[in-house]
Point group: C2
Chain length 423, copies 2
């Protein structure tokens, strides 16, 4: 075993041990813990902001761009926001402890399923210090221990944040090791974490495609892949084209850097000649640039815009920017076929006033979220009323789409007999 | 890409395509399909039994043991049983199409979750030809396509079985490729299948520890691990010792070769001197042999039996035979600690008349099934009233314990607006 492997093994063992102390806590105890964490973070705010200044200085020196620096930044206002979010989690219902499907079996056993914490959750994320608090709080609310691995750019901030959380745990008579930070940028620690199936019950990678791939390939622990959205919107021939423009603009422009932003617009050929010049002009005015199929490029000429030529690669790209692919399709079937081929299974939408087209699209498109006459931007835990979001899953097992508190739980079957034997 | 990889890729692509045709079938269409499969199997019974005779002859020549030969065997009676089981699956409710948690969101969207098939399921299993039919029928009942990889010893039988199923699909106007068999014993095909995440949504390995490990390590697709049961039963000081004997005998002896059979008996020290000689004598009379801790070995001497010395390795063994580990523990806490250390998370039981001990055991033991005053042998889809069993999961994501039809489904979020934008 390498030194890194034994470091991670010890950390996992401590996390598992801590998870036992959390698993059967009553909700009011967990609420008290969350309030204590908020208080500790408030008290440590000067130290947190100082540590963050250190991270920022190092990041500037390393030449990180403005967007990255902004993501790293923790000032007083942002920290207040993070602490205020803890109150929102406190207000949520606790899924743990519910008994589901209780019944008396023919064999004489009384059987039920009880919702219980997963146990130990490993979360790997990029340089956003708010995630450290978010995830710790969601994990503790559901009685889980958590192992955090944040981006190396926020290591100083994360150390102070987790230390405050650990102090709150201890003050509440709970094991500090319920929240542990991997406090070294050594990448081999991540590899070791991904193979720690003896102690870790779920890995959630919150990051780009490369991190997702790494986890899919290396992990021996169940992983929830997600957060990659190659999202489509299909403008049907029966769409209200005037109203369509605002929905498409919302999907593309409101926050182009996130996973539920629109990547490819599919346009029914029957309305393409009318619609494509309009949508190109409107979006171009908002700063959007385009990749288009041949027809799109011909039709958009009327608006004075010529998109770059779209190809297999551009259709398979999550833009995360003010770029949009546009393709003219023969009909709904071709739109569905395009989505099946290129989608990452995140969010797709149809705009149509035709009830048959709407139903067909919902039936045929198999993504985490499928919309009729709505922006793809709605795929989000808080928009969906889940109150919190651990991640957005694009796989089909366990949790799909925005993951709320329930996704941090599992169930165990409880059977009670009277010295009952199987026949 | 190797030849094996491209073979598997083509197979996966066909399965995915076929899955689209199944996903939105009404229940009565799927019932008709299952009836057609039963009819085709009946019609092909002579061919099936002839192919099985071929498998058996080859197995005998290869020197496989009697237990293995028995598992391989498909005679008329067994085939009748397999066909009769299809009727049971027909009688089950169809979980696909249900809409869950429908509600109107604050943002104006009407949102629900619709239960849908997973899509394509890959199942890797050992030399039991009945599994071929079982799994195909369960997958089709829930609108999934399936890729089957059975043991090489049953290849001839499996070819005829799947060919009959594919004929039924075609007769019902459905794509034959909804059920495909990997019809070569080449192991590199399995490795290729495990990395086919583009087309396969879930892998279920039904086999021993080695297969489970292979899948955990190589798969880039979500895998449901399971079927390995290192099961414990704790005899508390407050147990009714007379009645305990029969439950323990049931757990150990009724069917020792299956995953829910008892592996280690934990005995509270307060009743060890009285109980250990009794249980050893009773079980020995049923053919059980023992590994015991030091105390067990000393105490069992009174019954004229001396267990072999138990150690770390024996406690970590799934016996799958008439062998039993016995250990004396200080109290319930030590029993729980033993289980946490050695259990595979399958099934554990306590025997006690003390309500506090019972509650504590159910709270502290985190396995798929936890029993009070019942045999571990109950962990089974049909005993649990699920009607069918795809596998028994020992992991915590997606499905835990016996997996019924619902475990072959996921959900998608459906949102309907009125050209609704996110604020």
């Amino acid at each position: 075993m390498t030194e890194q492997e034994s470091t991670i093994q010890a950390l996992g063992q401590r996390a598992k041990q801590a998870s036992y102390a959390l698993a059967n806590l009553a909700s009011n105890k967990k609420q008290a813990l969350l309030r204590a964490i908020a208080a500790e973070l408030r008290q440590a705010s000067a130290a947190i902001i100082a540590a963050n200044a250190q991270d920022l200085a190092a990041a500037r020196q390393a030449g990180l761009d403005a967007a990255m620096l902004d993501r790293l930044l923790l000032d007083e206002a942002r920290l207040d926001g993070i602490i205020a979010d803890i109150d929102k989690v406190i207000a949520l219902g606790d899924p743990v402890g519910q008994e589901l499907d209780s019944r008396l079996l023919d064999n004489g056993l009384r059987l039920s399923r009880r919702r219980v914490p997963l146990g130990v959750i490993g979360v790997i994320y990029e340089a956003r210090p708010n995630v450290t608090v978010d995830i710790a709080v969601l994990a503790l609310k559901t009685g889980n221990a958590v192992i955090l691995r944040g981006g190396k750019e926020t290591l100083a901030s994360n150390k102070v944040l987790t230390s405050a959380i650990r102090q709150a745990l201890v003050a509440q008579g709970l094991p500090a090791d319920a929240v542990q930070l991997i406090d070294s940028p050594d990448r081999s620690l991540v590899s070791a974490l991904l193979k720690l199936d003896k102690y870790v019950d779920m890995i959630v990678p919150r990051g780009g495609a490369q991190l997702q791939r790494l986890c899919a390939e290396q992990a021996t622990i169940p992983v929830i892949l997600g957060g990659i959205g190659i999202c489509h919107l299909f403008v049907d021939e029966a769409a209200d084209l005037k109203r369509a423009v605002d929905v498409i603009a919302n999907a593309k422009v409101q926050r182009p850097t996130v996973c539920n932003a629109l990547d490819t617009l599919l346009v029914h050929r029957a309305i393409a000649a009318e619609f494509i010049p309009v949508i190109c002009r409107e979006l171009a005015a908002l700063g959007v640039t385009f990749y288009g199929c041949e027809q799109t490029r011909a039709l958009s000429a009327a608006s004075g815009i010529t998109p770059l030529a779209a190809d297999d690669e551009s259709y398979a790209t999550e833009w995360l920017s003010l770029t949009l692919g546009i393709r003219v399709v023969q009909d709904l079937d071709e739109a569905v076929a395009h989505i099946r081929r290129y989608s990452s299974g995140h969010s797709e939408a149809i705009l149509t006033d035709n009830i048959h087209a709407a139903a067909e699209f919902m039936n045929q498109v198999d993504s985490a979220a499928v919309y009729v006459n709505a922006s793809t931007r709605f795929t989000d835990g808080s928009e969906f009323g889940l109150g919190a979001e651990v991640a957005v899953s694009t796989q089909k097992l366990h949790a799909r789409g925005p993951m709320g508190l329930e996704a941090l739980t599992t169930y165990k079957w409880l059977g009670t007999g009277d010295y009952t034997r199987r026949k």
